[in-house]
C-alpha cells in the first residue's frame, strides 16, 4: 500500500462495492415490505357512443363510422398508504376491461395521473371525461358490458416496481348502441 496507484484502486473498489451493497439492501427491503394497498372507488356517471374519425396517423380509424365511447366517471382514491421512504411516484390509471366474442381480454386505459408525493395522493374528482379514445378493436360497441377499475403502479427510488388494483369488479357499465341521430 505504498504507492498512489494501489491506494486509489483499493479505495475505488471498496467505494463501488459499498455503494452497490447499500442499493441492493434498499431494493431488498422494499421488495419484502411492499407498498401496501390503497382504498379506491370509481363509478360511472354517463356513457355515450358517438361516431367520429381520427387523423391520418390513425390508419384504422380513418373511417367516419368508427364508434367512440364518451365516458364520464367519478373517482375517489386515497393512495397515501402507497407512499413510503422508497416511493418515487405512483402512476394511477382508470381501466375499462371487457370481453368480446373475438377477443377474450381487452383492457383500455381511459384516464391516468402521475402522483409524485403524499400530499397530492388523495383524489376526489367528479364527472371526469376519458382522456384517451375509448374505441374497441373492431371499432364498434354493440351493447358491450365493461367494468371500470382503478390500477396503480409504484416506481421506487431504487428497487422492484410493484403494482396493484382496487377492487371494483362491481362497477359495470354498458355501452349503448349507437343512435345515428345523435353524436357530434
Amino acid at each position: 500500500m505504498h504507492n498512489l496507484q494501489q491506494r486509489l484502486s483499493a479505495t475505488f473498489s471498496f467505494a463501488v462495492s459499498a455503494l452497490f451493497t447499500v442499493l441492493g439492501v434498499v431494493a431488498a427491503i422494499s421488495w419484502v415490505t411492499g407498498y401496501g394497498t390503497a382504498a379506491t372507488k370509481v363509478n360511472v356517471r354517463d356513457i355515450r357512443v358517438i361516431q367520429s374519425r381520427y387523423g391520418p396517423d390513425y390508419f384504422d380509424y380513418g373511417r367516419k363510422t368508427s364508434e367512440f365511447g364518451m365516458l364520464k366517471f367519478d373517482i375517489d382514491a386515497d393512495l397515501t398508504p402507497l407512499f413510503n421512504w422508497n416511493t418515487k411516484q405512483v402512476f394511477v390509471t382508470v381501466v375499462a376491461e371487457y370481453e368480446t366474442k373475438t377477443h377474450n381480454k381487452n383492457q383500455v386505459v381511459v384516464w391516468d395521473k402521475i402522483i409524485r408525493d403524499k400530499d397530492s395522493a388523495k383524489i376526489n374528482l367528479r364527472k371526469v371525461s376519458n382522456k384517451y379514445a375509448l374505441i374497441d378493436f373492431s371499432q364498434k360497441w354493440r351493447n358491450q358490458v365493461a367494468n371500470l377499475s382503478v390500477h396503480w403502479d409504484v416506481t421506487p427510488h431504487v428497487g422492484i416496481l410493484q403494482n396493484g388494483r382496487g377492487d371494483t369488479s362491481s362497477v359495470k357499465f354498458t355501452f349503448p348502441k349507437f343512435e345515428s341521430s345523435g353524436g357530434r
Partner: protein, 175 residues
C-alpha cells in the same frame, strides 16, 4: 511495467491471456445467465430518453423480465423493439386486446411524458405492436447507474479508452 511480462515463459503468457479471457467470458456468461433467468434477451437496459419522466430519466438502469407465465397487462412498462428500428423503446401499455382464436396480442403504448401515443413511432400504417416485439417488462429500477453507457454512446472514443485501460491492467498484473 512491462519487464515482468517479458520474463514470463510461454505457459505463463498463456495464463495471463486466459486471465483477460476469464474476465470477459465470466461477465458474458453472467449476462447470458441473467437473460435466461428473466427470459429476456437484454435483461438490463439504460433509459435513453426523457419520455417516461418523472419516473425514469436518461441514464437510469432498468431490470427487465419476460416470464411466459405472466402475460402483459395494461399499465405494465414494456421495452419493445420495432422491426427496422434500432433503438428499443421503454413505454407503458395503455391498450391491450387479446385475440381469442390466435392468441395474438395487440398492444398500444405511450410514454408517460408524451402527449400522444406511440403510433407515430411505429412503422407506417402500423397501429399496434405484438408480443414478439416486447423484449421484456420493467421489473426493477436503479437511478443514474446507466450514465456510463450514455457517455460511452455520446463519446465512442471513451469506450475504447476504457476497454484498453482495463485490458492492459489485467494483462500486466499477475494474480
Amino acid at each position: 511495467m512491462f519487464e515482468e511480462l517479458r520474463r514470463l515463459n510461454k505457459r505463463q503468457v498463456a495464463l495471463q491471456v486466459l486471465n483477460i479471457l476469464m474476465v470477459l467470458t465470466s461477465a458474458l456468461m453472467i449476462w447470458k445467465g441473467l437473460a435466461l433467468a428473466t427470459n429476456s434477451e437484454s435483461p438490463i437496459v439504460v433509459v435513453l430518453s426523457g419520455s417516461m419522466e418523472p419516473a425514469f430519466h436518461r441514464g437510469d438502469l432498468l431490470l427487465l423480465a419476460n416470464p411466459a407465465s405472466q402475460p402483459v397487462q395494461v399499465g405494465d412498462i414494456c421495452v419493445f423493439q420495432i422491426p427496422h428500428r434500432d433503438i428499443p423503446i421503454v413505454h407503458r401499455v395503455i391498450k391491450l386486446h387479446d385475440e381469442a382464436k390466435t392468441g395474438k396480442q395487440f398492444l398500444l403504448t405511450k410514454g408517460d411524458n408524451n402527449n400522444v401515443d406511440d403510433r407515430g413511432l411505429y412503422n407506417a400504417r402500423q397501429m399496434w405492436i405484438n408480443k414478439e416485439h416486447v423484449v421484456g417488462r420493467v421489473r426493477g429500477f436503479m437511478p443514474y447507474v446507466g450514465m456510463v453507457t450514455i457517455l460511452m454512446n455520446d463519446y465512442p472514443q471513451l469506450k475504447y479508452v476504457m476497454l484498453g485501460v482495463l485490458g492492459l491492467f489485467v494483462l500486466i498484473h499477475r494474480e
